[in-house]
Symmetry: C3
């Protein structure tokens, strides 16, 4: 654990590290801005999206050329999609990429052909169980072409010859990802990661990209203990590329969260890291339990988002996954119904607040030691009980005083105490602040975990790859 | 763990260490005797109460002068209350301390005044939700005066001028507490503690004072392994004063119990020590589970009685709290309904039996080692099965034989075995005695925990404070 | 844990180590063959039973003479029962040993007498709660004679003089047990044990004897890593005798199972070893949970079958008990209703399959280490996902791939992974085999537990006791 500093909160608005007024609307607006873009694991869509994000934060864009080997993988060719459609025999356009980019099998190879309905059907993906929705399908690593459409539309198609065009190309180029680092007092890092490869799916993951961008933006104004790294990278291959290039310094990562699907009204859901008992696992469990009457806390499983890579056995980083509804459990998942109607500013705001609460615990946790450990100190004569009279959190804070003093033996952090007392961290942290001010607590300095030294850190990151401004 | 001695039970009546015939009535009688006394944290009431207890046991009374610093606290002035009343405008006495000592705010400063109802009301405490009961209120560390009355009475008071008198004084004097030590074979101590500061509240804590007095009285007649210390002290400040004066020897305390509210028909309740897994925690959990179908076993929390002080982080003693109904959970708590009708001899007797059962486990636990550990020994030819034929505990004792022999590897105590076998300790202890007599068990002597040496112990305690005879 | 060898399965039929076609009928037929024999802890019945078993496997029969001391016990005299009956006053045979061998108190001393009904009744055992069933009763270690009959029959008996004859003898002789060893690659042993002392009780334990015989028979044809020892011995005294004679080499036993009552439709039930967390405990828990929706997994208790001896504190072997219905819990237990109607080929077959599944886990478990531990390897280009398309276990196998690769850090065995992934062991084992073939896994060689060396093992067991051919 990191040692808390009161200076840390010096620049913060009253009531917390980061102000949250209007945050839901701001995140929603950015999500709506990037929603129409057709993204994939490579290609122009990622560039365009990063450009939008970089209007808010000083984003570094990194390129990794096609063919580069990254662990067991190879950076694939760059996919450029210009247009796609299907015309019927009469020349009438029955499907148009421009109206919805989900219509094209993502990463599809180019095709120009006329073919009968039976042949066409082999390249059409639908959802018979949700016949009015267009599915989201990809074919990254198998050479294929195809279209996605509503099942109702498919079944209504008359026999005949259809003209299909996918005006796309797969050529050598590069995979890109965006990275933003908020430098704190130490080199110890809190990693936030969101995938940037899905096309027009609002919750999965315009929501996560937009939330993290605004979190990074607001964080820029405050002084923190940890450094905060934000990664906006294509799923799987992007995270793998980043890990391959940063292998030598991932040991700086103390805590990490992957974010996706943070705009719907379900959940909240937290999937623990592979280690299962790390600080971030405890923090998120604490935050979700106090934010929701029925949070879902899942043990790690090797299926999901890029926590799969961060938690591969060779890295085993303390990185969990935060979501509202869990992936695969809501009917809109990976369909055209995951649109801007599905996400809401209020849900984005509450997701933001949970992330900020976690961040505040990471910043604000410390291990108190009582200066009066033998019997209880007399709180009354210090005015600590009476100061609480008119406070709505009064009873909780009184119990917080007692719990803190009882457990302030240098072996319990504020989070430990909050968990044992079943009180929200912020109540415990505020009570601990008052006790410290009154001289009843000092910070225990026997922390033996080494903190990454700042000496020897180059003033600017010196990546070998080209750095672009998005 | 302490090594068991068969000699230990030499003086005990058949069936247990301490006889319990008539015990409920005896405890009740003593509780009834001390019930009328107006106690506070200091003052004559404590003296009078200790005088009653000392008719049964050879009590030492210790004085700590006003102004003495004890850890973070200072011994307060001594409160003397002589009389108190309220007269209405017609001179009619509407409230009289002599009829119920709860009527005066405990530790109230003196007052003599005439004042209108509106002003008077600022100094009246009632229970609107229990309008016919007088509440018990204190103001130890804030300078205040006041009266407690039934809410029904308050609302019926006509406007007018009232005369109020509290004929009390707060002057330098001393805080006193009573202590009794039953010397056992070793200096290792079992501490029993009960608060002596509450006025006429029968369950809280005339019951605890009376139970411990009679326990100490009966214990005086038997030879024990442990020494037993009984402390009758004002809540909080009394325990703190005792700890401050005995700081150098509290490490002798191996097990401890705070007792309060042991006369009602609820519970039983045991609140674990801060450590949570000490021997006394296991013993009390075992005893309560076998004594009751639905005992309440609570984790430690830093609210309650003097276990708060014993379990403060600088001491962290293995001391738990035994009650019937838990404090604050029964409607009579801290009201005039906590009277002699509320406690019953049969509940006092069953509380006593639970405490004695705990004491017997502490005295009687030992770690057996089988002399025939390879395969089961043949019990039949030793007459061990047949001896059990006509015994109502026969089947349990047969299983006890098998469990003991199976676990008699020197790493399991009788309590461990009783817990694993889900059998009452006394059944296991009796079966172990029979097995030992038949040569199938020996006591494991590899106990590495040092037992406090008796050499070097002064023949009599040498406290620096004055010692009075109560 | 033992290191897996692919060669191990070389001789096995597709789909598993041991073929199971027709197994239920074969086991039933053998159980039916031995059902009529009147067995006891000593005597001709055990000889006859072993003779039947030895038609299938190369059984060694060991003799231990009467009077031999085995730990705390002495080998008793040999019981020979030739005939027994009761005649009424008219000379009519009202009870005949030849019609049911349960009629005689097992190990009864001889008697020839005429006596009135009142006297006779002192020697009659019945089941008043199951009045039409004959109980099974023994008197091994108390000198007694008696008969067992249906309670209805007893209550219908008229007064009068009865003639009773038990033509039996108790003479010096020997106790015998059968043993079969399947030699595997190492000397590490998997012990299977079944009691052979009960007379005509089909489930308890003709079923266990017959199942183990056919397991041993089929195992003879395959190459295994472990050696498998099968013990068919009288309950208690037989197991004690075996342990006494094999004390020096029981440390070879890595896993063990006692089998009894494996032919009824209840359970399955597994009672854990005394240690409670051994490999066999985990294996059986895993097997039963995947074989049944509601298995019963019991903690060890020192009552039951010969696991009591294997798990006595001086041995503490990793031996559990497998049953269908737990002993003592089904109404047919120890009565004439435990007959050939009560056991079924299909239940015997499913019991067999569970035992084989456990054996396959013991043989097939190993600790994988990923050759590509940083990020996930790309399964698609290795055809691992596609190979699973048409496979009914496809989805489970895909998750198995991900789980194995995620946990392949050398610290998790396949069983660990199967438990964590909540997948059947065989799915995980098959997926691990495919991953290993594709080069993504190697076996971790850092196992520090020594495997019993084969050097120095005498070519044949050199027991000092006489070895007979049954």
């Amino acid at each position: 654990m990191i040692r808390a500093r009161t200076v840390m909160l010096a620049g913060a608005p009253a009531g917390g590290l980061l102000e949250d007024a209007g945050i839901g609307e701001e995140i929603f607006a950015l999500a709506a801005e990037i929603y129409p873009i057709c993204r994939s694991i490579t290609g122009e869509g990622v560039h365009q999206t990063l450009a939008h994000l970089s209007r808010h934060i000083d984003l570094e864009v990194h390129e990794v050329p096609t063919g580069t080997e990254v662990f067991d993988w190879t950076i694939p060719r760059e996919w450029t999609i210009r247009d796609a459609w299907i015309n019927d025999a009469a020349g009438k356009r029955i499907l148009d990429f421009k109206s919805c980019n989900l219509h094209v099998l993502n990463y599809s190879r180019p095709v120009r052909a006329k073919l009968p309905l039976d042949e066409l059907k082999k390249h059409i993906f639908t959802l018979p169980g949700q016949p009015d929705l267009i599915p989201y399908r990809t074919s990254y690593y198998a050479d294929n072409w195809g279209f996605c459409m509503a099942h109702d539309q498919l079944t209504a198609l008359p026999d005949g010859i259809y003209e299909v065009v996918i005006d796309a190309s797969l050529e050598d180029g590069s995979l890109i990802y965006g990275e933003y680092l908020h430098r704190g007092e130490t080199e110890e890092e809190f990693l936030f990661s969101a995938h940037i490869c899905h096309p027009s799916l609002a919750n999965d993951n315009c929501s996560g990209l937009a939330l993290l961008t605004h979190l990074a933006k607001r964080l820029a104004a405050v002084h923190t203990r940890y450094s905060y790294r934000f990664l906006f990278a294509p799923g799987t291959i992007g995270a793998i590329a980043w890990l391959a290039r940063n292998e030598h310094r991932v040991n700086r990562i103390r805590h990490g969260l992957v974010l996706s699907c943070v705009g719907d009204g379900g959940g909240p859901t937290y999937k623990k890291s592979r280690q299962g008992d790390t600080f971030i696992d405890r923090v998120m469990t604490h935050v979700l339990r106090h934010a929701s009457a029925s949070p879902t806390i899942l043990d790690f499983l090797p299926y999901g988002y890029d926590e799969r890579q961060y938690c591969s056995p060779g890295f085993n980083l303390p990185v969990g996954l935060f979501q509202r509804s869990q992936f695969g459990t809501f009917p809109e998942y990976h369909t055209s119904a995951d649109n801007l109607e599905f996400i809401r500013p209020e849900h984005l705001a509450s997701s933001y607040r949970m992330i900020v609460a976690a961040l505040e615990i990471a910043e604000g946790d410390w291990r108190p030691r009582s200066t009066s450990p033998k019997c209880e100190p007399q709180l009354g004569r210090r005015g600590l009980y009476s100061t609480l009279g008119g406070d709505k959190d009064g009873p909780a804070k009184s119990m917080a005083f007692l719990w803190i003093l009882n457990l302030a033996d240098g072996r319990h952090s504020l989070l430990d105490i909050a968990e044992r007392a079943k009180l929200p961290f912020e109540i415990v942290a505020e009570a601990a602040r008052l006790l410290r001010e009154s001289g009843l607590l000092v910070e225990d300095s026997s922390d033996t975990r080494p903190i990454a030294p700042t000496k020897g850190l180059p003033p600017k990151e010196n990546d070998s790859e080209a750095v672009l401004s998005a």
